[in-house]
Symmetry: C2
Subunit: 190 residues, 2 copies
DNA sequence: TTTTTAATGGAATAAATATTCTGTTATATT
DNA sequence: AATATAACAGAATATTTATTCCATTAAAAA
C-alpha cells in the first residue's frame, strides 16, 4: 500500500495561504486550492475531510507557530528596555516574514469558519508580555497604565506600520525600525 | 404605478451590516439579507442588480460618510495640540459609534468583491491629516518623522484599542480617552 | 374611478462550489 | 515478484447560493 506523503499537507497549506493573500478568504474555494497545489480534488480530501477542517487546522497550526516565534524572545533577565526593543523588533520581523500567515489568521478570526476550539486560541498568549510590562512598572521605567491598553497601543501601531509598508512597498531597515520603536518607547516611558 | 420606496436601500444596508458583523463577510448571502430586511429576494434585486453591486455600493457610501465624519474636525486655525486631541477623540468616537460600518469596510478591503473604483477610495483621505502634521513639524511641536509612519502609528493604535475595548466590553470614558491620547502625544512630541 | 406600471414576495432556475465516487497508480508488505 | 492497500486525479454528483421569473399588489396617472 501507499503511504500518505508527509509533504502534501504543507503543500496544501502553502497553496491556501497564497490564494487567501491574493483573493481574501471570501475568494477561497477548493478547486482553486487543488489547482494551486497541483493536486486533484480527491487528494485534497484525503488529507482534509472538508474545507472547514482545512481552514481550522491551518489556523490552529499558525496560531501555535506564531505565538511561539514571537513571544519566545522574552527574557526575564535582560534589562527591561533592551527586552522591549528585542520583542518589538522580533514582532515586526515576524509580521513581515510571515505576512501571508498573519493575514490568513486575521481573515479567519473575522469569518464564520472557525470552530469553538480555534476561537479559544485567540485569547491567551499575552501572559508573557503582561509579566514583562509589570516588571517595567515595578522598576519605575514605564507608566502605570493598564496592560491591555499598552499592549493594544503597541501591537496596533506595529501591525498598521507593517501593513502600510507592505502596501507602499517600503523596505523596513534598521533606522526605520529604530524610529518606530522610539515612538512606542516614548509613549510608555516614565 | 408604484414608486421605489426610498427607505428600502437603507433597510437593506442595515441588514447587511448586521449580518456581516455577526457572521463576517464570508458568511453573507442574499437569502439572509432578504430575511433580515424582511423583504423578498425579488425586492432586493429591484434595488441592487447583484450581490457584488450591493457590497460595492454600501462600501462607497460608508467610505464617503466616514471620511467626512472623521476628518472634518481638522481646523487649520486651532492650536496644533488641541486639534490633534480633537481629531483623536473624534476618530475613536467614530470607530465606536460606527463599529459595524468600519468592520464592514475592513472586511471588504480584504475581499475579492471590490471593483477598481471602490479600491481607489481606499487611498486618499489622509491629505488633511498630513497637512496638519506638517504644521506641527513647522511649529517644532512634533518630531520630524514621515507622515505615513506617524499616521499608521496613531491610527493603528487607536483601532486596536477600540477593538480591544469592544472585545472586553470596556466602556471608554473621558479618563481612558485622555490616557490613550497621551500615549500617542508623548510618542510624537518633540 | 379606471388604468397602467412598477414594486413586491417567494417559488423556480441557474450558477458556483463543495464533496463523493471510480478507475488507476504507486508502494509497502508478504 | 506478487499482492493488497491506500494515495491519487479528475469526472460526476450534491449542495449551497445567486439570480430570474411570475403572479399579485400598491399607488401614480389619466
Amino acid at each position: 500500500m501507499k503511504l500518505k506523503d508527509p509533504d502534501k499537507i504543507q503543500i496544501i497549506y502553502t497553496a491556501t495561504l497564497k490564494l487567501v493573500k491574493n483573493n481574501g478568504l471570501t475568494g477561497l474555494n477548493m478547486a482553486a486550492i487543488g489547482k494551486e497545489a497541483k493536486l486533484g480534488m480527491g487528494t485534497v480530501y484525503v488529507y482534509f475531510k472538508s474545507k472547514e477542517e482545512l481552514i481550522n487546522s491551518l489556523f490552529k497550526r499558525l496560531k501555535g507557530l506564531n505565538t511561539n516565534r514571537i513571544y519566545s524572545v522574552i527574557k526575564p533577565n535582560a534589562p527591561f528596555k533592551v527586552n522591549m526593543k528585542e520583542l518589538y523588533d522580533n514582532y515586526i520581523k515576524n509580521r513581515i516574514d510571515y505576512f501571508e500567515e498573519h493575514f490568513f489568521v486575521e481573515q479567519c478570526s473575522n469569518s464564520h469558519f472557525l470552530d469553538p476550539e480555534s476561537r479559544k486560541l485567540d485569547e491567551a498568549a499575552f501572559h508573557g508580555v503582561y509579566a514583562l510590562l509589570d516588571r517595567g512598572k515595578k522598576e519605575l521605567l514605564i507608566k502605570e497604565l493598564d496592560n491591555a491598553l499598552i499592549t493594544s497601543h503597541m501591537m496596533g501601531s506595529a501591525n498598521e506600520i507593517v501593513t502600510m509598508c507592505m502596501k507602499t512597498n517600503t523596505k523596513i531597515n534598521k533606522s526605520f525600525l529604530d524610529q518606530a520603536f522610539t515612538l512606542c518607547w516614548d509613549s510608555i516611558k516614565r
